[in-house]
Symmetry: C2
Subunit: 200 residues, 2 copies
C-alpha cells in the first residue's frame, strides 16, 4: 500500500487553493491517498524572512497577475478575495478537528473552505464563517465553533506548523511524495512523473 | 510578423540556463524570434531585498535539490558549478557586444556560455574565460576581451538591467510574449498556450 501524498498548504495561499483542486485527482490516478496538512505561513515567514506575495516589490505585482492567469490556465474558478491575506487559524484548526471527528469530511472541508474564500469571497478567518462552511457538510456548527477555541486543537496546529518548518516547508503548496519535496502548483508535472516512475 | 519573445536572464541563474535550452525551439514552433536580454540579478536584488537562492533559509536547501531534479526532468545536462553564484558582467557584456558585431552569433554564444558554466564548470565571470568560450564560435578572442571593458558596452548592460527592473523583472528567467510577463521555467506551459492562442 503506497504512502499518502502529504499536501501542506495555508488557507490564505492562492497557489495552495489552485493545487488543492488538483491534488486529489492526481493522487487517485496513482492509487494514493492525500494527507491534508494546513499550516500557518506567517510562522514560516518568521524563519525565512519572507512575507505575503503582494507585499513583495516587483514580485507582488507579478503575482497578482499570475494568480488569476494560472487559474484561467487550469480552468479553475478564482476571484481575488477583497481581504487578503487573512489569518488562517480558524479553518486550519477545523481541518485537524475533523481529522479526529470525521476523517471522511477532511477533503470536502478543505475544498469547501478554499472555495468559500477564493470563489465566494467569504472571510474564513472568522470562526463563525469557517464553521458555517463546514456545517454545510453536515457537521454540527456549534461544535465546530468550539473546536476553533479548543486548546488541544490549537496545540495540534502549532505542532504541525513547527513540523512543517522542521521538514523544510517554506511555501504553499508544498507536497511530499515518499519524502521527496515539491514546492508549487507548477511542480505537478514533476510530481506526476515521480508517482509514475518512483523517482527520476 | 509577430514580435520576438523577450528572454531576460542572468548567466548565474540555473533556472535561466534550463530555460535557455528550451526557449529557442518553443519560439521557432510559433514562428517567433528570441531577443536575448542578459541582466544583473544583483541589481534587482537591491530593489527587491531578495538574494541568491542558496542563501535563503529553507528555500535555498530546496533549490539545491530542485535544480538538478528539474534538469533531469527535462533531460538537460547540468552540474552545480563549484563557484556559485558568480558575477556575470563579462558574459552579459559579450552578448550585447555580439548583438552589434555579429547578431547571428548571439544565441549560440548564450548557449555556449551557459553550458561552459553549468555543464563544464568553467568560471565565466572571468573575462578571459568568457572570451575563450565565444572565441569557439569564430569570434576574435582579443576583441572579445576588449569588449568586456568597453564603456559603451558597460553602459548598455547597465541600461538593460535598469530597463528590466522598470518592466518589473525580479527573477531569472523572465519572459515577455507580446508584453505579457512570465517568470520561471515552470511557466513554459502557459507561454506555449499564450503563443498558440494569443492569450487566455
Amino acid at each position: 500500500m503506497p504512502s499518502p501524498i502529504e499536501f501542506y498548504f495555508d488557507f490564505s495561499s492562492p497557489y495552495g487553493y489552485l493545487a488543492s483542486t488538483r491534488i486529489g485527482a492526481l493522487a487517485a490516478k496513482y492509487a494514493r491517498k492525500v494527507t491534508w496538512r494546513p499550516f500557518l505561513l506567517g510562522a514560516v515567514f518568521k524563519v525565512t524572512g519572507s512575507g505575503p506575495l503582494p507585499s513583495q516589490p516587483l514580485k507582488g505585482t507579478y503575482a497578482l497577475r499570475d494568480m488569476p492567469r494560472s487559474a484561467r490556465f487550469y480552468g479553475i474558478p478564482f476571484r481575488m478575495p477583497s481581504v487578503f491575506p487573512i489569518a488562517t487559524q480558524a479553518p486550519a484548526r477545523l481541518v485537524y478537528w475533523l481529522e479526529g471527528q470525521a476523517p471522511e469530511k477532511v477533503e470536502p472541508a478543505v475544498l469547501a473552505l478554499f472555495r468559500a474564500y477564493f470563489v465566494d469571497d467569504r472571510d474564513i478567518s472568522e470562526p463563525e464563517t469557517a464553521a458555517s462552511v463546514v456545517a454545510g457538510l453536515g457537521v454540527d456548527r456549534g461544535q465546530a465553533v468550539s473546536a476553533v477555541n479548543d486548546q488541544a486543537i490549537k496545540d495540534r496546529l502549532r505542532q504541525e506548523t513547527q513540523s512543517a518548518i522542521d521538514r523544510g516547508v517554506f511555501g504553499s503548496p508544498y507536497v511530499f511524495v515518499d519524502g521527496e519535496p515539491f514546492w508549487g502548483t507548477d511542480r505537478f508535472d514533476q510530481i506526476e512523473r515521480w508517482l509514475a516512475t518512483g523517482g527520476f
